[in-house]
């Protein structure tokens, strides 16, 4: 049996998903080599979902140390992980999720990596990174035709931004074949037939999507879009906060951080020519900490997009996904 062919064991294990996306998608998944940067609340949710889906390999890159709080909120860690390197500590439980996937840990700092490190992957997933580094990875990915998706959770808010390059994908469409006349004149029932339809989505580069104050780049192409989703600007506010403070908003510093967020928010809304009232200041109260069930939602959405990107099956959502921190609805947007 060739390496490409699914074994009977795999067919049984992945039965319920093969019935959804087909055996070819499953074979593409099992050839995928994935890099995941950041294995905290959101990262561990993404890791769980893509490991279960049956990829070939996963490299986990994170230079963090396990804190007591992190352990309580991350199901890939156990009590004796506290104080140790997080990327290594998740390996045991991550491997148990799917013994068929090759998993490895890298505890160096993502920013210390040179360009060649990123070149060997089918797709790269990033959480918790600063904007300049996100844009740098996207550039490398573009030059090597690697797909890229980044996302974060801030309190009850979350988002993802994808660059799947020029993404070709297949969808199944059910068609009815017209009634056939049998030789004796009787009609047979119309048959249903499933046909594969190929389509393409072209993604903009990340530097056309994430434009913050002081990057001296034109935002006119974003400004001219009507009915903009205000949460896109909440996303930019939080990214800018992280860039400036080199950390996420911190509950123990809540009042000061909200003040900084307010300042950034008004700068960003000014940059994009939007009324200050469009983004309520009350939202800034909701962005503290990684809330586990929000990580579960975003981890599900991002992993599903990764699966679509790798399996070339089903239309991916547009490049930006925004989770509404008040109604818990979630919208896809095209930005850039």
């Amino acid at each position: 049996m060739s390496e490409k062919q699914l074994s009977a064991v795999e067919a049984e294990l992945y039965d319920r998903q093969i019935r959804l996306w087909g055996i070819e998608s499953q074979e593409r998944l099992r050839a995928a080599n994935i890099l995941l940067i950041g294995i905290r609340g959101l990262g561990s949710e993404i890791a769980k979902n893509i490991l279960l889906s049956g990829i070939n390999s996963l490299v986990v890159l994170d230079d963090g140390i396990v804190t007591e709080e992190e352990q309580l909120k991350n199901f890939l860690l156990s009590k004796d992980s506290i104080g140790k390197k997080i990327a290594e500590e998740v390996l045991l439980k991550a491997q148990a999720l799917n013994p068929l996937v090759k998993i490895s840990a890298d505890t160096s700092s993502p920013t210390s990596k040179d360009g060649t490190f990123f070149e060997d992957f089918t797709i790269i997933i990033a959480t918790g990174l600063k904007t300049d580094f996100l844009l740098k990875i996207d550039k490398i990915c573009r030059s090597k035709k690697i797909k890229f998706i980044a996302g974060d959770v801030f309190g009850t808010f979350g988002f993802s931004v994808a660059d799947f390059l020029n993404h070709e994908y297949f969808e199944d469409q059910v068609k009815l074949i017209a009634k056939k006349r049998a030789h004796d004149g009787t009609e047979t029932k119309p048959e249903k037939e499933t046909v594969k339809v190929k389509s393409e989505i072209i993604y903009p580069e990340l530097n056309k999507v994430i434009i913050l104050p002081n990057t001296k780049q034109s935002v006119e192409h974003i400004k001219k879009v009507k009915r903009r989703n205000e949460y896109f600007f909440l996303m930019l506010t939080l990214l800018e906060f992280r860039d400036r403070q080199e950390r996420n908003p911190d509950i123990s510093n809540k009042e000061k951080d909200i003040k900084v967020l307010q300042e950034i928010k008004s700068e960003i809304l000014d940059l994009y020519g939007i009324d200050q009232e469009k983004l309520d200041d009350g939202l800034l109260e909701l962005v503290f900490g990684e809330i586990v069930p929000v990580c579960a939602v975003l981890g599900g959405v991002i992993a599903q997009e990764v699966i679509k990107a790798v399996s070339l099956k089903e239309a991916p959502i547009n490049n930006v996904f925004l989770f509404d921190p008040l109604t818990y609805s979630g919208k896809e947007e095209t930005v850039g």
Binding site: A11, D15, R19, S78, F288, V297, T327, Y328, E332
Partner: protein, 604 residues
């Protein structure tokens, strides 16, 4: 140190560690919900699930691993949560939630109940228990890429049974036995043949030609009066007498019986007549690519077998099944039992060939025969995340912020991947479960239906009661009692014998569900071939409206599709033990105006 999240209502933060939560179901959504609860600081959790772990669960039910296959889900899920955080109090019940051990007082212990079920019966039951106990319930389900979350709270929202659900797909018996026209008809026939040969005797699953088919007698001169070919010794007895000789069996079902069908000429006036096939001729029907010796997943599961291969598999599987049957009184069909699944694949495809119907791969036939709903980790994770976000809100009775949310595949019509309703769904004032005085009209033939049939089909199967007591109003006659031995003598009596006639009122009371239902009996006789045996209608006005526009989809009436008409209707049983958790609440409902594709339902 606690893991209670920031950025939520401070009162909820205080209540999380003190609140007792029940999770019903430890499958796809259940595992995810348990993880989210435990990692969000809930410290007092109970979990109930009847099921054991199967290999095909492991692609999403991430609290389980290969070495857990065969063990109870509730027990392993508990251990898995404790391994992460031993300070949580978590109690596991490996049991059915329908058991009388879990009465209204059991449900009253909890602040919240979170459903993660896969079948309608259990969902209906927990719905009633939570209404009776007045505990908020979060109902959820996924099917493939889709899913939904909804709040059910007495007096605030719709209940799970406010809107009628689309009925299970059923097929008239004569379609299965005489005139199949779709692959599914042949697959149902194949399962019935399995039961006739190896399973428990069930007269509703006859596979021989049905000479009573009204269509066969249309011209009045009734070409088939002699039923010599129909009333033979039981199929199983006959098969044993010929020692399960595959060739004899094959010729009987695919040659002689088909020839007999051909003699019912009326059936073939407007249909392609079937082609009888002998064992000998089947051996010549090979395809160019002979995949007989290729054992890869693709060849065995994904490709359509030639008829010659079907006959070979027919023979091999019969040998294995005959062997399995030794020392047992019967076998139970199971899609995961290789010879049982092989047998149905072979039979369905030979029959499809005979009736000029498209043949299917083993993989496709397994989906249909086993009623498998595709399930993925990501959709479960998303839905379970929303469930626990709503749990935070329900602790502080913030019901108004818990509108139903739908996870949907990408659509050109809407940007919503997760679409939330704009308001809570209002209760149906005529709901026969949650309205103040539950009431239904029942249309039955009081001169034909027995008390036992009334109890099993109507009260239990359709109205989802568990242990009803029924009294004939005005006369005080005890018709059905949940106490053993009290009314057994009534079982075989016809309704009218006990004085139940058109206009009678029955008071039905389910003590376990704390549910009292008034039933008004209406005399009704099935006329047409496909007429249902009985109808249940919550509001008679709806019945009138319905009949004037019969063609509306699924309908707002409580009218049920044909379910069983003596042996005339067969039903694809929904194999609920299979995909226990992610469930499929097979409901059609409206979304807010921004959404266009609003259907979450189970594919057959």
């Amino acid at each position: 140190m606690s893991s209670v999240p920031y950025s939520i209502d401070p009162r909820a933060r205080e209540l999380i560690p003190k609140s007792k939560v029940l999770v019903v179901g430890a499958g796809g959504i259940g595992c995810e919900v348990l993880k989210n609860l435990a990692l969000s600081g809930f410290e007092d959790i109970e979990i109930i699930d009847l099921d054991t772990i199967d290999v095909s669960n492991l692609n999403r039910q991430f609290l389980f691993r290969k070495e857990h296959v065969g063990k109870p889900k509730a027990v392993v899920a508990r251990e898995s949560i404790l391994a992460h955080n031993p300070n949580i109090k978590i109690k596991a019940y490996h049991d059915s939630v329908l058991s009388s051990d879990y009465g209204v007082n059991f449900f009253k212990k909890f602040s919240l109940v979170l459903n993660a079920l896969d079948n309608r019966t259990a969902r209906n039951h927990v719905n009633r228990m939570c209404l009776a106990a007045d505990i908020p319930l979060i109902e959820s389900g996924t099917s493939g890429y889709s899913g939904q979350v909804e709040l059910i709270k007495k007096g605030v929202t719709q209940c799970y049974e406010c809107l009628p659900k689309p009925p299970q797909r059923t097929f008239p018996g004569c379609t299965i036995r005489n005139t199949p026209s779709e692959p599914v008809h042949c697959i149902v026939w194949g399962k019935h043949l399995f039961n006739q040969l190896f399973g428990e005797d069930d007269p509703d699953q006859d596979v021989s030609p049905d000479a009573e088919d009204p269509e066969a007698k249309l011209d009045g001169k009734n070409s088939v009066t002699d039923s010599g070919n129909i009333k033979r010794v039981s199929t199983k007895q006959w098969a044993q007498d010929v020692d399960y000789d595959a060739e004899k069996l094959f010729n009987k079902f695919f040659n002689e019986d088909i020839k007999y069908l051909l003699s019912m000429e009326n059936l073939w006036k407007n249909r392609t007549p079937p082609k009888p096939l002998s064992w000998k001729d089947a051996q010549d029907l090979v395809t160019d690519e002979n995949t007989n010796n290729d054992s890869s997943v693709r060849a065995v599961d994904m490709e359509v077998w030639s008829i010659a291969k079907c006959s070979k598999v027919f023979s091999e599987s019969i040998n294995l099944l005959q062997h399995d049957l030794k020392g047992k009184s019967y076998l139970v069909w199971d899609k995961d039992d290789k010879p049982a699944m092989d047998f149905v694949t072979a039979c369905a495809n030979v029959r499809a060939y005979i009736f000029s119907i498209a043949q299917k791969s083993r993989f496709q036939i397994k989906s249909i025969a086993g009623n498998i709903i595709p399930a993925i980790a990501t959709a479960n994770a998303i839905i379970a995340g929303l469930v626990v976000l709503y749990a935070f809100r329900l602790l502080v009775e913030d019901y108004e912020k818990c509108n139903s949310i739908y996870l949907r595949p990408k659509s050109v019509h809407s940007k919503f991947v997760l679409a939330a309703d704009k308001q809570l769904s209002k209760a149906n004032p005529n709901c026969y479960v949650c309205s103040p005085q539950p009431f239904v009209n029942v249309f039955v033939n009081v001169n034909k239906l027995t008390v036992k049939e009334f109890e099993t089909e109507l009260l239990k199967k359709h109205l989802n009661m568990v242990a009803p007591d029924v009294v004939l109003d005005g006369k005080g006659v005890m018709v059905i009692s949940s106490e053993e031995g009290e009314t057994e003598a009534n079982n075989d009596k016809i309704l009218s014998e006990l004085g139940i006639v058109d206009g009678s009122i029955l008071k039905c009371d389910d003590f376990l569900q704390n549910y009292e239902l008034t039933v008004l009996v209406n005399q009704y006789e099935a006329v047409e071939k496909d007429d249902p045996l009985y109808k249940v209608v919550a509001n008679p006005e709806e019945l009138k409206a319905k009949e004037s526009k019969k063609a509306t989809e699924n309908g707002a009436s409580e009218q049920k599709e044909p379910e069983s008409d003596e042996d005339d209707i067969v039903c694809m049983e929904s194999n609920t033990s299979e995909d226990p958790q992610e469930g499929s609440s097979s409901k059609r409902r409206k979304l807010n105006e921004d959404s266009d594709d609003d259907i979450v339902e189970v594919p057959l």
